[in-house]
């Protein structure tokens, strides 16, 4: 995108917004759209419109390269956000991060840094800001710093609830994939190291009646028959693991048993993780999570309205939407919602406190005192109610009562009270986001609702999940039975002869697990297989896991770099250990 085009776009957007603002101050024949679920008052609409205007001005200043004007627009954006009772604007933060990359690619590093400041200020700690910082570092020619900043992206992702949930889901699938792949590789290595005893044993057993050549062919047929089954390739590894049990050391047997158990548990773990993430993928839940964290997404009102439509009888949702209205300063909408909550839950201290705040905001101090005292009685360990009570008494010039109430609040949590006192602006009552704190309850209600079932969170029959465990048990029993009758070979070759020093080092370095298997070091052999399996899984996680909805890609694909780095370290360590052993 050229700079001129960007300027044209930004100015066009600004013109459209200013036109809209002009219309806003004049009487209009058309009725403004009204969101039935989460209605907005005119002051809130105006505040939101100002956010649009300030953003357009920020873009315009960016297009002109006016860093000072960008800073002023940013200040206005943050001020407007604070008026709405919110703390972060993630979409604008991502937008600023993208503009950082545009400026960095154009070589305008001063402008890039100014845009990066905006990205960090609009939603501190966002991964996209780290990605943008990596782009800036790359434009500066600091490639190591760029790689480091790219690695910061997944770390920052852990701070975001939705992205963290996806990351944890991917982590479960990744670890499961890596361990199952390592277990399968372990069976392959056992086949190479112990398989000749199995093949020789079968051949010798069959050779009592057949020629040795035919016996060998039949032995191979015995080994390979599961290939005729549907999905036979993976069954064959399971089958070999059962056969090889008889020829394995006790430690190798432990790993085989753990592999079977994990194979049995895999469907349960995958399904559980899948069910948990299904609800998190719902935009309604994401909107609620963001709102609870003070992040104001552009379609938050739509999503909250949908949530209310999906769960019309949910007290938790009602209270959460009440909290959202209260934050926006729309007490006329918050009050009836809190009253609805109290009808269902008369002892809901957070709702009582919310009603007290609404009464305080409209100047009904008597009701405010009554509500705050009731909230303090319902939750005597919460300092917000006595703190708010002290504010009301101050308004009424009842300074003794105000001092007493403040003292009570400070005894309960001096730290929180200090934070409330030192926040900017006139003294405001402290609130409890009782509805937002009921996120888990809302998730459970959503899972139960028909709406989520429609969205693909259907549950599979439980017995299917549990099918793997009897299979694991059957593997153990089959292995025990076979080990009792397993044919032992009359003659077999031992471990391969030692090669020259260099060849031996190369073999031990490049064939992880095999040397360990020959030496009976089962655990270190498994670890040696798990590490490359885990690195492969990391590169493939996008194929079986969920993609993180990051708003900006870092310049360095961190998974590839991380995998390559760990692989090099792993091979170097193996080489060093092999060289020490060879010496």
């Amino acid at each position: 995108m050229s700079r001129r085009r960007l300027a044209d776009r930004a100015l066009g957007l600004l013109a459209a917004l200013l036109a809209a603002m002009t219309l806003a101050v004049a009487p209009l024949p058309a009725q403004a759209p009204e969101n039935e679920g989460v209605p907005l008052t005119a002051p809130v609409r105006r505040a939101l419109a100002l956010l649009q205007q300030d953003w357009a001005e920020w873009l315009s200043a960016f297009a002109k390269g006016d860093v000072e004007a960008m800073g002023e627009s940013l200040e206005r954006l943050l001020g407007g956000l604070s008026e709405l009772g919110m703390e972060r604007l993630p979409e604008l933060s991502v937008g600023a991060a993208v503009q950082t990359v545009v400026a960095a690619r154009q070589g305008n590093l001063e402008l890039a840094r100014a845009a990066l400041v905006a990205a960090e200020a609009l939603d501190p700690g966002r991964p996209e800001a780290a990605a943008a910082a990596a782009w800036v570092a790359r434009a500066e020619g600091r490639h190591l710093l760029a790689a480091w900043r790219s690695l910061e992206v997944p770390v920052r992702t852990l701070d975001l609830p939705f992205e963290r949930a996806l990351l944890l889901h991917d982590l479960v699938l990744w670890s499961l994939f890596a361990t199952l792949l390592a277990a399968a590789l372990f069976v392959v290595v056992l086949t190479a190291a112990r398989g000749q005893r199995l093949v020789s044993g079968l051949r010798d057993a069959l050779a009592t009646r057949l020629s040795p050549q035919l016996a060998l062919v039949l032995s191979l047929a015995v080994m390979l028959w599961p290939l005729v089954l549907p999905g036979g390739f993976l069954w064959i590894l399971l089958y070999w693991s059962v056969l090889l049990w008889a020829y394995s050391t006790p430690r190798e047997r432990v790993i085989l048993v753990l592999g079977w158990v994990l194979l049995g548990l895999a469907p349960i773990l995958v399904n559980e993780s899948r069910r948990r993430i299904a609800v998190r993928l719902s935009p309604m839940v994401r909107a609620l999570e963001d709102a609870a964290a003070g992040r104001m997404q552009g379609d938050v009102f739509d999503d909250l309205a949908r949530l209310r439509a999906v769960l019309p009888g949910s007290v938790a949702v009602t209270q959460a939407i009440g909290d959202q209205h209260r934050r926006l300063g729309q007490c006329e909408y918050a009050r009836p919602l809190y009253l609805d909550v109290l009808e269902q839950e008369p002892e809901n201290a957070a709702a009582v406190l919310g009603l007290g705040i609404c009464a305080f905001e409209r100047g009904d101090l008597e009701e405010a005192i009554e509500r705050f005292e009731r909230a303090a009685a319902l939750d005597p360990l919460e300092p917000a109610a006595p703190f708010d009570l002290s504010l009301v008494h101050s308004e009424l010039y009842q300074f003794d009562q105000a001092r007493d109430a403040l003292g009570t609040a400070q005894r309960l949590s001096s730290e929180r009270v200090a934070r409330w006192i030192t926040r900017g602006g006139p003294p405001r009552p402290a609130a409890i986001d009782g509805g937002f704190q009921r996120l888990e309850e809302i998730r459970v209600e959503l899972v139960r609702s028909w709406a989520l079932e429609e969205e693909g969170a259907e549950t599979l029959t439980p017995w299917r999940d549990l099918m793997g465990l009897p299979l694991a048990l059957a593997c153990m029993l089959a292995a025990l039975v076979f080990s009792a009758v397993a044919p032992q070979p009359r003659r077999f070759l031992g471990p391969p002869a030692r090669l020259t020093r260099r060849a031996e080092i190369a073999r031990r370095t490049l064939l992880p697990g095999l040397a360990e298997a020959w030496e009976g070091e089962a655990l270190s052999g498994f670890v040696a297989l798990w590490i490359p399996a885990a690195l492969l899984a990391l590169l493939l996680v996008g194929r079986f896991g969920l993609r993180l909805p990051l708003g900006l890609e870092p310049p360095t694909p961190w998974t590839l770099w991380f995998s390559c780095g760990v692989l090099v370290i792993f091979l170097l360590l193996r080489w060093w250990r092999a060289a020490v052993r060879a010496t």
């Binding site: 969101n35 649009q52 290595v189 060998l216 896991g545």
Partner: protein
């Protein structure tokens, strides 16, 4: 007849001559330098010589290979067959047509001479003759007289001193295939299959094939590794739907970021990749195929290729309506009702 003593006092040649002279029948054991040799006598003639530390492969096998008759690996295959109860090696050699009776006889006699020469060179050791009425030996084998043995030993010692006429040296890895008769060459691989090495190589071959297959499955169909027991693919299908949902969330964030900066949705998903809002791999996010994308002034549609709008099992339409940062209508405030103004002139 009791013959027993030390080699230092009575050299082996003297002991052999005495037994030959006395027409003894039985087994003479000689415990010497690192080995024990047994010489089987029948009426004063040597029927066979064996060594404790040299199995069939080391003894007869080496001899047959030295003479270019049977390769080492073929002989080892026969030994494996003998161990699996298929018959004795000399019989198998004759049965399989690998040797004629004369060749086998000559090879056995040569082996006996070689072991005898080895024992005759010992300076230290003990000997003892166990006389008996009967001894076991290879059927049809022609005996060697003690004089023959001793003259062979003296002749070889002489050759060795003069430095000429050395025996054929067998390299460690065995003679080349062309050193053997065609019939032997043809049967070589068949006989190799009976050896322990064949089983070892089979196991390694299976392991390598499994490794290649496993990596191919892991890269080509990773969920098969994750859910190998999900035969009907129900969990896999469900995972896939979730993958699509997460992917659509990513596309939505990218498209709306583009709208936030440009005032319109992108013309194609490729543009989002150029702007680094999506990764190149994202365009191949689904396992069912590539994605189709269509933009409109205030909305966009993303779906799988080949699926029609609204009918596909997986598609997503997103709009800016209701988005307070993108929707131009959102900023329009409520209508303010002013009382009519009456202007008086």
């Amino acid at each position: 007849m009791k013959i027993e003593g030390l080699l230092r006092e009575h050299p082996l040649a003297e002991v052999l001559r005495r037994i030959g002279r006395d027409a003894g029948t039985g087994i003479l054991t000689v415990q010497g330098e690192g080995d024990i040799v047994g010489v089987t006598f029948l009426n004063g003639q040597v029927m066979s010589v064996d060594a404790v530390n040299q199995g069939l492969e080391d003894g007869l096998g080496t001899e047959l290979e030295r003479q270019g008759l049977v390769p080492r690996d073929v002989f080892a295959g026969l030994v494996a067959e003998q161990e699996s109860g298929k018959g004795r090696v000399p019989e198998l050699l004759l049965e399989r047509g690998l040797l004629s009776r004369d060749q086998l006889d000559a090879a056995l006699r040569d082996k006996s001479r070689r072991l005898c020469r080895q024992a005759l060179a010992w300076q230290d050791g003990r000997y003892r003759f166990y006389s008996g009425q009967e001894v076991a030996f290879e059927r049809g084998l022609r005996p060697i007289t003690v004089d023959d043995l001793l003259s062979d030993w003296e002749r070889q010692a002489e050759v060795s001193i003069n430095g000429g006429g050395a025996a054929v040296e067998v390299p460690e890895q065995g003679l080349a295939p062309e050193d053997f008769a065609p019939a032997v060459r043809e049967r070589r691989w068949l006989l190799w299959l009976a050896r322990p090495e064949a089983a070892a190589w089979c196991a390694i071959g299976l392991a390598v094939a499994a490794l290649v297959g496993l990596i191919a499955v892991a890269i080509g169909a990773p969920t098969r590794i994750l859910l190998p027991l999900d035969g009907e693919g129900k969990v896999d299908a469900s995972l896939q739907r979730q993958q699509q949902s997460a992917f659509y969330a990513k596309v939505d964030r990218a498209a709306k970021t583009h709208y936030l900066l440009e005032g319109s949705f992108p013309e194609s998903l490729g543009l989002l990749v150029e702007e680094r809002l999506l990764a190149p791999a994202d365009l191949e996010a689904t396992r069912e195929g590539r994605l189709a994308y269509a933009d409109a002034p205030v909305s966009y549609l993303v779906r799988l290729h080949g699926e029609t709008d609204g009918e596909g099992k997986s598609h997503r339409t997103e709009t800016v309506a209701g988005h307070f940062l993108l929707d131009p209508d959102f900023v329009v405030p409520e209508v303010i009702e002013f009382p009519p103004l009456v202007l008086l002139d």
